[in-house]
């Protein structure tokens, strides 16, 4: 099966390849004939013309994207391949292959990634994605370390590699190079200094390294691009001035410009993030273009920073980082999902294209200049200085870090120093007039990229496994975790307050309260303020998961059983009907008997049967209406361009959600009169005899307070049973066991009831039981046999009686004498 698909796709790829190469070949011929076409007057009207030139550029781009996507698809067909070799390396191979095919077709390599394409269209998408999905807490928690690595390590890399190469050049090992002097080497060192986010993310994400390690390497690689670009620009302009003419003032200016560029870019990012968040507050009416705002404004921040010659990478990163909280809260659910997927799709796509292009552009005889010493020394220096930089800086940082970075972390960090697309983009934008050894630099850069991405990328995974690096585990979101995390924050900041320290938690705490007080109010929709709380999100997710399992289990047991199970909140309705039903039933059974025995009038019998059926139909219909939801009316809206969601669905979903909530809570509620309540009452007994009497009365009056305790059936906790029997020994003997069962089963835990009298309960259909029992008892009897396991499993929790939610309040038992008087009330629920 898999093999077949693999073959199919392979053949597909071959077809696309053929198209590519044939179009390429045609291009040259059409080039030749183009003059003819335009020059010669058209001989009459042509119905169909072949206008390759008209569509050439977009067509080729689309084809490349298609090829890249298919290639990616192919890699993932066989799961073995991608576990051994990282995707980025595979893409480079494919690129090389494609480049080879094109080269073989007509010996030119016109497809190369221009710096413009890279910096304007491909890089922003990747960086935006990284920023938008940045785990903010970790990022800012490790901000110091990230900054140190991003700034100091990058400058160190650039300087050390550049100067070392220059030193070796002076010894004459490399032979004669056409360079001005030190500056060329420094420029080269700076363009190779950045650890590339694309390559690092690609490898680390596949490996799933530990969170802290990931965020440090990732944050470093993200921020040091900005640093690299600044360094590159500084050296580039120094070269333009000419090595001899650079004065001390220029150097100072260079340093100043470094800070201005970096901080300016960050500031632009924050301003645009603010703008974006603010705008997203008001996009409710134009839901369909809502996701667009995110992309357009982020892109504008990139372009604006570029326009002001500030660091555009930092700008778009910080736009993503700062806006994520507010934007995610403001956008409606569908838009947020769209943004997420679009972002991932675009980032993944551009990453794919970049790596393929890296492969393709290497296949060009014209760019290769070989200088063994230079290339090998570059590789060596890059590896060595990365290790030195990491070790020294980590030693320095560990003196201040609360959680020190261990030896293994340092090894992985040094090894993770992949160079990638940024270096390529920068080297491609070198000006040959200024830097005469551009070709050599280009060749070396490509080799460095291949070496790091392919070799280090392939071996990182085995290294990580071999060193037993802490991996991050994927965890299900859990409420306790969220709650505990929050408690943690408060505890730690309180401890800092008490101990008089101003630390991370202090600052974070202050920021949180500022954010909550002002920023959120300004930047979030009112409706979003509530749902922005992550705890609620998790709660919601859990509820939905619960509902899904509930439904799935119901379905497994047969949909009818599931549907017929009266819902806790709909119980009265059902009961109401079933009581009617049972009346009909009863009368019918009499009639039936009578009919079969006496009446020979077939018409009358038929009529009665019809009646019965009709009433059954009414009942069923009603049930269906209650429990089945209307099918989605998608058709109605599908062709509209402005809106695709219908509000009805929302209401329906909300209702489903509320129902499951209720059910979830009902499972608690049913146990709430269990131990904790009786414990409390038992305490009361000891304290206050009058109270005892009152409760005693209440109990005998109608079973309002339930003393049936799970301990009856619970061998684990005999002591509690004793407490109750001690406290309540006055009344328990007074009430017969049967009476107890009759009166309280509605509010007690049905699970226990079930255990006591399972046969009797199950045997009786809902409408066949006594009509005059408390209505709630129906639920206890009926719901349990069909309720799914996991709900039942959750049920025997002991919960306190103290609760504020309305479901519990609604469950206060009503005196038995007027069972019907509260029906409308309950129905209104």
């Amino acid at each position: 099966m898999q093999c077949n698909r693999f073959k199919e796709c392979a053949s597909l790829l071959v077809v696309v390849l053929l198209i590519c190469s044939s179009t390429k070949a045609e291009q040259s011929t059409t080039n030749a004939t183009a003059g003819n076409e335009h020059g010669a007057p058209p001989s009459g009207y042509q119905i169909v013309t072949f206008k390759w030139h008209h569509v050439m550029d977009p067509y080729i781009i689309a084809l490349w994207v298609l090829v890249a996507s298919i290639a990616k698809m192919l890699f993932h067909m066989s799961s073995k391949l991608t576990t051994v070799i990282p995707e980025s390396a595979l893409l480079i191979f494919i690129g090389l292959l494609l480049g080879g095919v094109v080269w073989g077709a007509d010996h030119t390599a016109s497809y190369s990634m221009t710096p413009r394409l890279f910096f304007f269209y491909l890089l922003p998408l990747i960086v935006l994605d990284a920023g938008y999905f940045m785990p903010n807490r970790q990022f800012f928690g490790n901000f110091g370390a990230i900054l140190v690595y991003a700034v100091i390590a990058t400058v160190w890399n650039a300087a050390s590699v550049g100067l070392s190469l220059y030193g070796v050049y002076l010894t004459g090992v490399m032979g004669e190079l056409k360079v001005d002097g030190m500056l060329d080497f420094l420029l080269f060192g700076s363009l190779l200094s950045a650890v590339d986010p694309v390559a690092v993310i690609a490898v680390f994400e596949e490996v799933h390294v530990d969170e802290v390690l990931y965020i440090i390497v990732f944050g470093e690689s993200l921020l040091n691009d900005g640093v690299t670009v600044v360094l590159y620009n500084v050296f580039d302009s120094f070269i333009a001035i000419g090595g001899v003419n650079v004065t001390g003032v220029d150097c100072v200016k260079g340093v100043v410009s470094f800070f201005v560029v970096a901080l300016g870019g960050t500031l632009i990012g924050i301003v645009f993030a603010f703008l974006l968040s603010y705008i997203s507050r008001f996009t409710k009416r134009v839901q369909i273009i809502e996701p667009g705002f995110v992309f357009v404004i982020s892109y504008l921040s990139y372009l604006t920073a570029e326009m002001l010659s500030l660091s555009s990478i930092l700008a778009i990163t910080f736009t993503g980082v700062c806006c994520q909280k507010y934007v995610q809260a403001n956008l409606c659910k569908e838009s947020a999902t769209t943004v997420r997927y679009m972002m991932k799709m675009l980032a993944n796509g551009s990453e794919t294209i970049i790596f393929m292009m890296l492969g393709i552009s290497a296949v060009d005889g014209g760019i290769w200049v070989w200088n063994t010493a230079f290339i090998l020394l570059t590789l060596l220096f890059i590896a060595v200085y990365r290790v030195v930089g990491v070790v020294v800086l980590t030693w320095f940082l560990n003196r201040y870090r609360v959680v020190p970075l261990g030896f293994i972390d340092q090894v992985v960090m040094s090894y993770g120093g992949l160079r990638g697309a940024v270096a390529y983009g920068l080297v491609a934008s070198l000006d040959e007039a200024r830097v005469q050894e551009r070709k050599l630099f280009f060749t070396t850069t490509i080799i460095v990229i291949y070496f790091t991405v392919v070799l280090q990328g392939c071996t990182t995974k085995s290294l990580v496994t071999w060193l037993k690096v802490k991996r991050s585990e994927h965890r299900e979101p859990s409420i306790s975790e969220k709650l505990n995390g929050r408690a943690f924050d408060h505890i730690l900041s309180a401890i800092e307050d008490i101990s008089g320290q101003i630390g991370h938690h202090y600052i974070w705490d202050k920021w949180e309260s500022f954010d909550r007080k002002y920023l959120c109010k300004l930047l979030m929709r009112k409706s979003a303020l509530k749902s922005s709380d992550q705890i609620l999100d998790v709660f919601h997710d859990l509820n939905i998961k619960d509902a899904i399992t509930y439904i799935a289990e119901g379905e497994r047991k047969g949909s009818l059983a599931f549907i017929q199970t009266p819902n806790t909140d709909q119980l009265v309705n059902v009961n109401f009907h079933s009581s009617k039903q049972s009346e009909v039933d009863a009368s019918m059974s009499v009639l039936k008997e009578g009919a079969s025995a006496v009446c020979l009038d077939m018409q009358a019998v038929e009529l009665r049967w019809k009646n019965l059926r009709e009433s059954e139909d009414v009942y069923t219909h009603h049930l269906l209406q209650q429990y089945l939801y209307k099918p989605k009316k998608q058709l109605k809206y599908k062709y509209g361009r402005h809106d695709i969601t219908s509000t009805e669905d929302d209401a329906q979903e909300k209702e489903i959600f509320e129902k499951t909530m209720k059910r979830r809570l009902a499972s608690f509620k049913s146990t709430k009169y269990g131990v904790s309540q009786s414990k409390k009452v038992a305490k009361h007994f000891k304290k206050d005899p009058s109270q005892k009497k009152r409760s005693d009365e209440m109990l005998s009056n109608g079973g309002q307070l339930v003393f049936h305790d799970p301990a009856f059936s619970d061998p684990e906790h005999p002591h509690e049973y004793e407490v109750i029997s001690n406290g309540g020994s006055n009344f328990i003997p007074n009430v017969t066991r049967q009476a107890l069962a009759d009166t309280y089963n509605g509010i007690d835990n049905p699970a226990f009831m079930l255990n006591e009298e399972p046969v009797a309960r199950q045997a009786l259909p809902p409408w066949a039981t006594n009509n005059d029992t408390v209505v709630l008892s129906q639920r206890a009897r009926v719901q349990m046999p069909w309720s799914p396991n996991n709900v039942r499993r959750l049920m025997p929790l002991r919960l306190s009686g103290r609760s504020t939610d309305s479901f519990l309040l609604a469950d206060v038992p009503v005196p038995e004498e007027h069972p019907l008087s509260f029906l409308p009330e309950r129905t209104a629920l």
Binding site: V212, N398, V402, V403, P404, G406, I479, S480, E481, L483, N484, R486, A487, F488, H490, I491, L492, A494, I495, D497, I498, S499, G500, Q501, I502, G503, H504, D509, L529, K530, D533, I535, L536, F539, L542, M661, L665, F668, G674, S676, P710, S713, D714, H717, A751, F752, L754, N755, N789, R792, R793, L794, P796, L797, R798, L799, S800, S803, T804, D805
Partner: protein, 216 residues
């Protein structure tokens, strides 16, 4: 400040530092802070801690302050009940639960530290000291925890319930219908926290630098 004339002598400090794992400088700084909080008395009372302005907006400050006066957290001999005032040594012992890890530690030491830290947290939830976090106790903490967000205040009970349910499923697995989940015991609490490396998270940076003058 008055911190200087009531300075404990060198031996005491060294003794305390050894006992709690703080460095001598840290002990001195904390001592100054202690004196500042207690208004130069030898013992610290609840009111002193409630008087810290930064603590005012902390939703669970009652629990945190209570932890300082809870014998379980500093008295190994009779871990029961609460006290009205604590001395510097007790203060330091409670603080030492938040000491960061050292770079070189054996697995056992780490495990020990983890247990200590978790026990501290557990005590914070377990108000009545019966070795179990009952639902009511849990609800109480969750209610206070979420009280900052007025919109979800009402749902805190439901959230606590859900969290409790979760704890029940984690700890008991598939429960029989007549099984009852009493509350979270310390063992269950440990189970809930497996996989979360609390020993690297539950820490405060105790500076070697004195900045008590900055904090009121």
């Amino acid at each position: 400040m008055g911190a200087f004339h009531s300075r404990p002598d060198e031996n005491d400090i060294r003794h305390l530092a050894e006992k709690t794992g703080f460095s001598v400088e840290q002990v001195e700084i904390l001592h100054r802070r202690f004196k500042q909080l207690s208004r130069d008395e030898d013992t610290l009372q609840r009111e002193h801690l409630y008087g810290i302005p930064d603590l005012e907006c902390n939703p669970i400050r009652t629990q945190i302050v209570a932890a300082f006066f809870d014998k379980r957290n500093f008295d190994k001999d009779s871990p029961q009940g609460t006290v009205q005032e604590i001395g510097f040594e007790q203060f330091l012992t409670v603080m030492s639960h938040f000491r960061p890890l050292k770079l070189r530690m054996t697995e056992e030491q780490r495990e020990q530290l983890r247990l200590e830290k978790l026990q501290f947290l557990f005590n914070m939830y377990d108000l009545d000291n019966d070795g179990k976090i009952s639902l009511e106790e849990y609800r109480h903490v969750v209610y206070e925890l979420l009280s900052q967000n007025p919109q979800i205040g009402n749902e805190s009970a439901a959230i606590a319930d859900a969290a409790m349910l979760e704890a029940a499923t984690i700890c008991m697995g598939q429960m029989e219908p007549d099984q009852v989940y009493e509350g979270i015991t310390f063992q269950d609490f440990l189970k809930m926290w497996t996989g979360i490396d609390i020993e690297t998270k539950m820490h405060v940076r105790f500076l070697k630098m004195d900045n008590t003058t900055l904090c009121k």
